[in-house]
Symmetry: C2
Subunit: 340 residues, 2 copies
DNA sequence: TTGTATGCGTTATCAG
DNA sequence: CTGATAACGCATACAA
């Protein structure tokens, strides 16, 4: 027994009407008499008619779905972003189709090709650490697919971008360390190609400069896969701690890297702040209860999701081209705990 | 400038062929000559042809999408489940469409209606705490929609169910408390209507019984909305702690409730295990680093997701009816920390 | 081996 | 006010 949905045709047959009449009645067209409307509506109700969205999509040339590509759903930051997206999409009757890149450019591309085979009306994407080649994305954009970037953006594609204030977050975090007397501040950054990494590094650099602390290049380590693999963080940390001049504080440049650092320090029995101060980006739950404690830069993930979805929907629903702008969600919080 | 996709028709025109020939060539049909195949394929490649999935869906009467309804995406347990689902779906070329019920029966129903308007081939659902009326879901199932339940199941709908070993998890957790000498063990349970709640309560009851500890009904508190609202947990905890006989240990019956309890204890300055021992279900990251420490029952969320998706796909792709069975994923872990 | 015609479910256009 | 017909993009039974 297959799932046989009831269609307009069925209703038309059973009521001895034409499909067009039924269709119009269901859409409450003014050119249908109240009497027939009632008959049709009642019957539709009775047999549980639901319009076939696929057919509607084909006809209307839109799917009422938006695609979302993030590196990993099971990452607090992104799951909160998705939550925000969903909350807005739901209100506007849009579906959310999720895909994860797992920080792989190849998977990202496959998802992209799949989602854009006319099955989505617009796309919200946070590019993977691996993504070097934007040409496909760019082509899609040029061909008219509404795109909104969230968090990890690509500068030379001109469309809405929703980002947290990475520069200020990193600046404040670094400054906070400086103010506590730390002078050898290492940073464990995400892949250097990422927009967020560059902004965060900038904030770090400027905070040091403003404090007249010389920047040491060997205090900067990178996790090319965004900490997707723990060993990446492990070796970066080991490298940092092996320097002649050891860092007295570490600034973890992303959620995943932050948790990795915590794991590493726990494992190696490195205490905070005695042995090494720690501050990092994190949207993980319950960070206020961690031990070793953790000073945290928290991103407004949910709000970023909401903003992205709103912008995307405005892009989708407006016929005219809009001014594309960057939205900086300002409420990046700096939460200080005794880890620093 | 709209997003104008290239269709089979375009290719046919440009190549002076019929649409059917093009269609067949693209699908590598044996009844097309190698020569034309090559011409078509090359051209399709050149112009970047991507078959319109909506049209394919309409024709084939399947969408290559599966729907997932959970209470909240930004909940570690569910995000890990989704991750598992996605990993399997992706390999089989299926899309995942996510919807959240936010523990509201109404939203769940709306999502259900929306998703099943022929836009999904099957459904994976974890019912909301509020869900009392299964009739719509049941009707869908009877009409042939493949459904797999994950974690929170409905007993009288006969289909595949993927659940963790809630009974054993709760039994072991309670027993562990008993063995440490706790005798006044409270449980903060999820909504009593939920399958998981009942199983967990059962495990709790049996563990007490086996230890000859009388069950006190006033040691059982419920969070009807699964802890979606913090005040719910707060008042439940207050109620428990106001009893003449105060509990010396608390067993938190879900992820959300566990984090709620931790928050509450922090706020009220209740120490663990001195003032109150704490154990709870949790799939949150970094629980091993929490302070107050937390003994944890961890569910195999990712594996549950994988299993659900595999079962659903087998349901979708097999024409014959199958034996519907319950899959108990056994690897529920009990992770003991100094909180108990 | 290729082309023609038809239908998937819906809506829009055009007649009546 | 209502009905017949075409079209969205694709795939296939049937002709040629």
């Amino acid at each position: 027994m297959k799932f046989e949905a009831v269609t307009i045709k069925h209703i038309a047959m059973e009521l001895g009407l034409s499909t067009s009449t039924v269709s119009r009645a269901l859409r409450d067209s003014h050119e249908i008499s109240q009497a027939t409307k009632k008959i049709v509506l009642d019957h539709a109700q009775k047999v549980g008619f639901k319009p076939n969205r696929i057919a509607q999509s084909l006809k209307e040339r839109k799917s009422l779905s938006i695609g979302v590509i993030v590196c990993e759903i099971a990452n607090s930051f992104f799951s909160q972003v998705i939550n925000g997206i969903d909350s807005v999409a739901y209100e506007h009757g849009y579906n959310v189709i999720i895909a994860q890149s797992m920080e792989s450019a190849e998977r990202e591309l496959m998802n992209l090709e799949y989602l854009t085979s006319s099955s989505i009306d617009g796309l919200i994407i946070s590019v993977s650490t691996e993504t070097k080649n934007f040409s496909y994305l760019k082509k899609l954009h040029e061909r008219g697919l509404p795109i909104v970037f969230v968090d990890r953006v690509i500068d030379d594609i001109e469309t809405h971008k929703v980002i947290a204030d990475n520069y200020r977050g990193a600046y404040k975090a670094t400054k906070h360390l400086v103010e506590r007397g730390y002078k050898k501040i290492a940073i464990l950054s995400n892949n250097s190609g990422l927009s967020i990494s560059q902004e965060r590094l900038e904030g770090y650099r400027d905070a040091l400069k403003d404090a007249n602390i010389p920047l040491r290049e060997n205090m900067i380590a990178y996790c090319d896969h965004g900490g997707m693999i723990y060993s990446e963080i492990e070796s970066a940390m080991k490298m940092l701690l092996k320097q002649r001049v050891k860092p007295d504080a570490v600034f973890a440049g992303s959620d995943k890297i932050t948790t990795g650092c915590l794991r590493f320090m726990k494992q190696k029995n490195i205490r905070t702040p005695q042995d090494l101060a720690l501050i990092g980006f994190s949207n993980t739950d319950l960070t206020e209860l961690l031990n070793p404690p953790l000073s945290v830069i928290k991103q407004p993930a949910f709000e970023m999701g909401q903003a992205s979805a709103s912008l995307l929907l405005s892009l989708i629903e407006s016929k005219k081209p809009q001014n594309k702008f960057e939205t900086r969600i300002q409420s990046t919080e700096l939460l200080i705990r005794k880890s620093t």
